[in-house]
C-alpha cells in the first residue's frame, strides 16, 4: 500500500481541469476560512462543502476517508480529554458521579471537541481536491509559480517522500517482528519491544531519507525541480475560483454576522 496522494490524477473532473496554481491558492484560502470558523452550524456547513468538492473530483470516497484515520487518531482523544479538563464556566452543564467527586464531565468540552474534530476533517478532506487532482510534481511546481519560498517547497517535497520511506520501513519491520513470532500482550516485554521498534523505525527512516536525498544529489539535483510545466489559465478556472471565494465570504458572513438561529 502506498498512499500516493496523486494516485487519481488522470481522472477527468472540473477540479482536475482547474489550473493547479489557482486551484491550490483558492482551496488554501478556503481551508483558512474553515479554520477560522467558530460556530458549529458553520463548521458543519463547511464539512458538507468539503464533501461536495470531493464528490466533484470523482475520486473514490474510500481513498479520502483513509486519510481521516490519522485525524481521528490524533483528535479522537480530545473527546475524552476535553470534557474532563476544560475549565467550567457559568452556565456549563456538568455531570459528576456522587462517589467520584473529582471526575466532572463538562458538556461544553464535548461540544468543543466536536468542533475541533469537524473542522479538522473538513480541512483534511480538502487536501484531496487540492493535491490529488494533478501529478504531485505539477502541484509542487505550481507552488513555485505562486512564489512559495523554495525552502518551504523543499520541506513539503521531502516530508512527502519521508512518509513513503517511513511506511515502507514500518511494513518491513513489522514483518520482521511477525516472522520472529512476536505476539503482543500486556507486559513489560511487549512495552519494551514497542519502544525499541519505534526508536529504530525513526532512526532508520531518517537515515533512509538522507540517502534518498544523496541519491538525488548524485544525479545532479541542485535544490530545484527542473520539470517544465506549461500552466494555462482558462476563463473557466477564474469562474471556479470565484465560486469558491463566494463560499469563503459566505462562511465568514454566516459565522460572524448571521444570527438567524
Amino acid at each position: 500500500m502506498r498512499p500516493d496522494i496523486d494516485r487519481y490524477w488522470e481522472l477527468k473532473s472540473p477540479i482536475h481541469s482547474w489550473d493547479p496554481r489557482l486551484r491550490i491558492l483558492t482551496l488554501l484560502i478556503l481551508a483558512f476560512s474553515i479554520s477560522s470558523a467558530q460556530r458549529l452550524p458553520t463548521i458543519l456547513g463547511c464539512l458538507l462543502f468539503s464533501f461536495l468538492l470531493l464528490w466533484l473530483t470523482k475520486i473514490p470516497l474510500s481513498f479520502s476517508l483513509k486519510r481521516l484515520a490519522a485525524v481521528t487518531t490524533f483528535i479522537g482523544p480530545f473527546f475524552l480529554i476535553m470534557p474532563l479538563t476544560i475549565k467550567a464556566k457559568p452556565g456549563d452543564t456538568i455531570y459528576f458521579f456522587s462517589h467520584l467527586k473529582f471526575l466532572e464531565i463538562n458538556v461544553r468540552g464535548l461540544y468543543l471537541a466536536t468542533r475541533v474534530y469537524c473542522k479538522a476533517v473538513a480541512i483534511v478532506l480538502l487536501v484531496v481536491p487540492m493535491f490529488g487532482t494533478s501529478r504531485f510534481d505539477t502541484s509542487i511546481k505550481a507552488l513555485e509559480h505562486l512564489k512559495v519560498p523554495n525552502s518551504i517547497i523543499q520541506m513539503i517535497l521531502f516530508s512527502y517522500r519521508y512518509v513513503f520511506v517511513f511506511l515502507a520501513e514500518l511494513k518491513r519491520m513489522s514483518l520482521a517482528m511477525k516472522v520472529r513470532k512476536f505476539t503482543p500482550s500486556t507486559n513489560f516485554h511487549t512495552l519494551k519491544t514497542y519502544g525499541n521498534f519505534i526508536g529504530t523505525l525513526l532512526v532508520r527512516s531518517f537515515e533512509l531519507a538522507e540517502e534518498v536525498y544523496q541519491a538525488m544529489l548524485a544525479r545532479g539535483y541542485t535544490g530545484r525541480l527542473k520539470i517544465q510545466v506549461n500552466y494555462r489559465t482558462k476563463p473557466g478556472d477564474w469562474i471556479k475560483s470565484a465560486l469558491i471565494f463566494a463560499a469563503v465570504l459566505g462562511i465568514i458572513y454566516f459565522d460572524r454576522f448571521f444570527r438567524g438561529f
Binding site: 520511506v165 534518498v212 544523496q214 538525488m216 544525479r219 545532479g220 539535483y221 527542473k226
Partner: protein, 271 residues
C-alpha cells in the same frame, strides 16, 4: 603494455563524520580509465564513505580528489556528477517518482538535456535493463530485482564515464543476481564495485582494493586475491556457502554463464 590514463586520483583523503567517527585516515588510490575495481573490506572499513567522496557527496576534511581531470570542488560538482554515476545499495533510495520513466529521466533533466535527447536516453537505459515495458508503471510496483535494475537505469540514462555500485547484488535471488552480473560485466565504463560477493566480483573485476580501518590496505589482481583464502576470510567475503552448493548439485549452479540463459531470465516475473 598499453598506456593507462588515470581517471580517479585520490590523495591523502581524511574524513571524520560530524559525530566524531573517524572513517577515512589517509586514503591514496588511483583508478585508470576502463578498469573495473572491486572495493572490499570488513563492514565499517570505510568503503561507502570513500565512494561518496568521488562524486562530492562528502567533502574531504583533508586531501584531494581529482576525477577525469577535475578537482572535486563546489564549482565542478555539476560536471562531476554527470560523469560519475552512483548506484546505491537500496534501490528505493533512487526511485521516488510516480512512474519509472520520470525516475530515469530525473538525471538527464537535471543535466538540462534537450527533451528529445532525454526521451532517447530513457528508452535506451530501460531497454538495456530489460524494463522498457514497465516505463509508465510506478516503480514501487516492480519486483525487488527489477527495482535494482531500475535504479541502475536511473544512472545509465546520464551516460556517466564512471559507475560506482554499492552492493549491487545484495538480497537478490540467484536468477536476478545472474542478470545483474551479466549487466555489470557488459558495462563499458570505468567501474568501482563495493561488494562482499566473491563470485560476482570474480566475474566482473580485474583488480581488488582492500580497505581496512579507513585506509587502503592492499591492492592486488583478482588472481592473487582469490588464491589467498585467509585474505578472503578476513575481509568478510561471502564464498564458502556458494562453493558448497555448487559441489553438491552442479545442475543447479547458481551462476548462469550462457548469454541465452541470461536473456531468457529477463522474462517479467509473475506478480
Amino acid at each position: 603494455m598499453e598506456k593507462k590514463t588515470p581517471i580517479i586520483t585520490i590523495r591523502n583523503l581524511h574524513y571524520t563524520y560530524p559525530d566524531g567517527t573517524v572513517a577515512l585516515r589517509g586514503v591514496n588510490l588511483t583508478v585508470f580509465e576502463g578498469e573495473s575495481i572491486a572495493l572490499v573490506g570488513k563492514n565499517g572499513s570505510g568503503k561507502s564513505t570513500l565512494i561518496k567522496h568521488i562524486n562530492g557527496l562528502y567533502r574531504p576534511e583533508e586531501g584531494e580528489i581529482i576525477v577525469d581531470g577535475l578537482p572535486v570542488v563546489e564549482e565542478n560538482l555539476r560536471e562531476i556528477r554527470s560523469r560519475v554515476g552512483m548506484v546505491f545499495q537500496d534501490p528505493d533510495s533512487q526511485l521516488f517518482c510516480s512512474t519509472l520513466y520520470d525516475d530515469v529521466a530525473f538525471g538527464p533533466i537535471n543535466l538540462d538535456m534537450e527533451p528529445g535527447l532525454i526521451e532517447q536516453r530513457v528508452h535506451e537505459a530501460l531497454e538495456k535493463m530489460g524494463l522498457l515495458e514497465f516505463m509508465h508503471r510506478p516503480p514501487h510496483d516492480l519486483s525487488f530485482g527489477q527495482r535494482k535494475r531500475a535504479a541502475m537505469a536511473t544512472v545509465l540514462s546520464m551516460r556517466p564515464k564512471i559507475m560506482i555500485f554499492d552492493e549491487p547484488t545484495s538480497n537478490l535471488d540467484p536468477k536476478n543476481e545472474a542478470i545483474m552480473t551479466g549487466l555489470l560485466r557488459d558495462l563499458p565504463t570505468t567501474m568501482i564495485l563495493v561488494s562482499h560477493d566473491l563470485p560476482i566480483l570474480y566475474q566482473t573485476c580485474q583488480k581488488v582494493v582492500i580497505m581496512r580501518e579507513g585506509k587502503i590496505d592492499q591492492i592486488l589482481s583478482m588472481q592473487e586475491f582469490i588464491s589467498d583464502v585467509n585474505l578472503l576470510r578476513t575481509n568478510g567475503l561471502d564464498f564458502t556457502f556458494r562453493c558448497d552448493c555448487c559441489h553438491q548439485d552442479p545442475k543447479h549452479h547458481r551462476y548462469l554463464t550462457e548469454e541465452q540463459e541470461i536473456s531468457e531470465s529477463f522474462e517479467p516475473s509473475p506478480p
